[in-house]
Symmetry: C2
């Protein structure tokens, strides 16, 4: 039940509506979790019912009204408990890796295509995260920000997201190159 806590953590930086949360969790700008809008609306309802967040209506003229949510003291206490509990390590679960695992037995061209697609996606995300980090740290240098910036949490999770995508991109490119070369070698025989 970590979606609860992910939502609570996301709301620590200020009140947000379900829609705003959804955008953050969807693009993976929230690098610590991923969720679809439907989940978030449902989870926010549950959180409010349980008193961990409180919502207030914001009336808007040109756009539909919205409800924004804030973490309550009970919500903070719940996060505190969560942080102290030990979780199990997260495992990789990725379609692409399954395809690569089978690369010797299926059409290598298709696998190479998937790897290339993913590398491009990772590259786009790397640029996105780079910008986000720059925005978070403002005009301070990284060292300086890490030492004295307020709100270090989001910066650290962003760094993990960045490293993850760089790992993805590098591995995808290298793997694609290796499979390509083997395919070429095979064709020469």
């Amino acid at each position: 039940m970590a979606l609860r806590h992910a939502v609570l953590a996301a709301l620590l930086d200020g009140e947000l509506s379900g829609y705003q949360l959804a955008k953050a969790f969807d693009l993976g700008v929230a690098n610590f979790w991923h969720a679809l809008p439907q989940q978030l609306y449902a989870e926010l309802a549950r959180l409010e019912r349980d008193g961990l967040v409180s919502g207030r209506e914001i009336v808007q003229d040109t756009r539909p009204n919205k409800r924004v949510f804030t973490v309550t003291d009970a919500g903070l206490a719940e996060l505190e408990r969560f942080a102290a509990a030990d979780g199990k390590p997260s495992f990789i679960r990725d379609d692409l890796l399954v395809k690569v695992q089978a690369a010797d037995h299926v059409d290598a061209g298709e696998v190479i295509a998937r790897l290339t697609e993913r590398a491009a996606f990772a590259d786009a995300k790397i640029r996105l995260l780079g910008g986000l980090l720059r925005k978070l740290r403002g005009d301070r240098g990284e060292e300086e920000f890490l030492r004295h910036g307020e709100r270090i949490g989001p910066y650290l999770t962003c760094l993990r997201g960045l490293a993850f995508e760089q790992g993805n991109r590098d591995w995808c490119r290298r793997s694609a190159a290796i499979l390509e070369e083997r395919r070429a070698a095979h064709a020469r025989e």
Copy 2:
């Protein structure tokens, strides 16, 4: 529905029983996917029912009999189709990152403890995977193996798993150090 394909991919290297599969998927030796024994037994039953794998009984004296499974031609065809389909990118979903995201608002000591635990876990897995890679490539050098070794798929997924855990370990250590230093600085004020 990628567990199917993960199981098929795992069976490409030779027939395995549900129990053997479970061990591989549990320890994450299968770096491309993770699954619990119950899922695997259920999935193997479905795969056999659908004709994608075929099982045969192996009678054993001292231990309980077991059923081992092989990928059928239909199974291979299914994998082929799967490899050609494009999947969506996999997102991070990790308790630990949620905790770090909230690090400014909860007891930093607890978060540091969680980071340290995870770094140790990652370290253990790095050693495990290092051994696995050495075993896979035998006495050949890596370059040589990547070019001419048969069964490159498992090696590549293993490489991804290794890089992932190295990323984890490095990030955990760095983040823990940063939080530690900030805590010390705060205490001095």
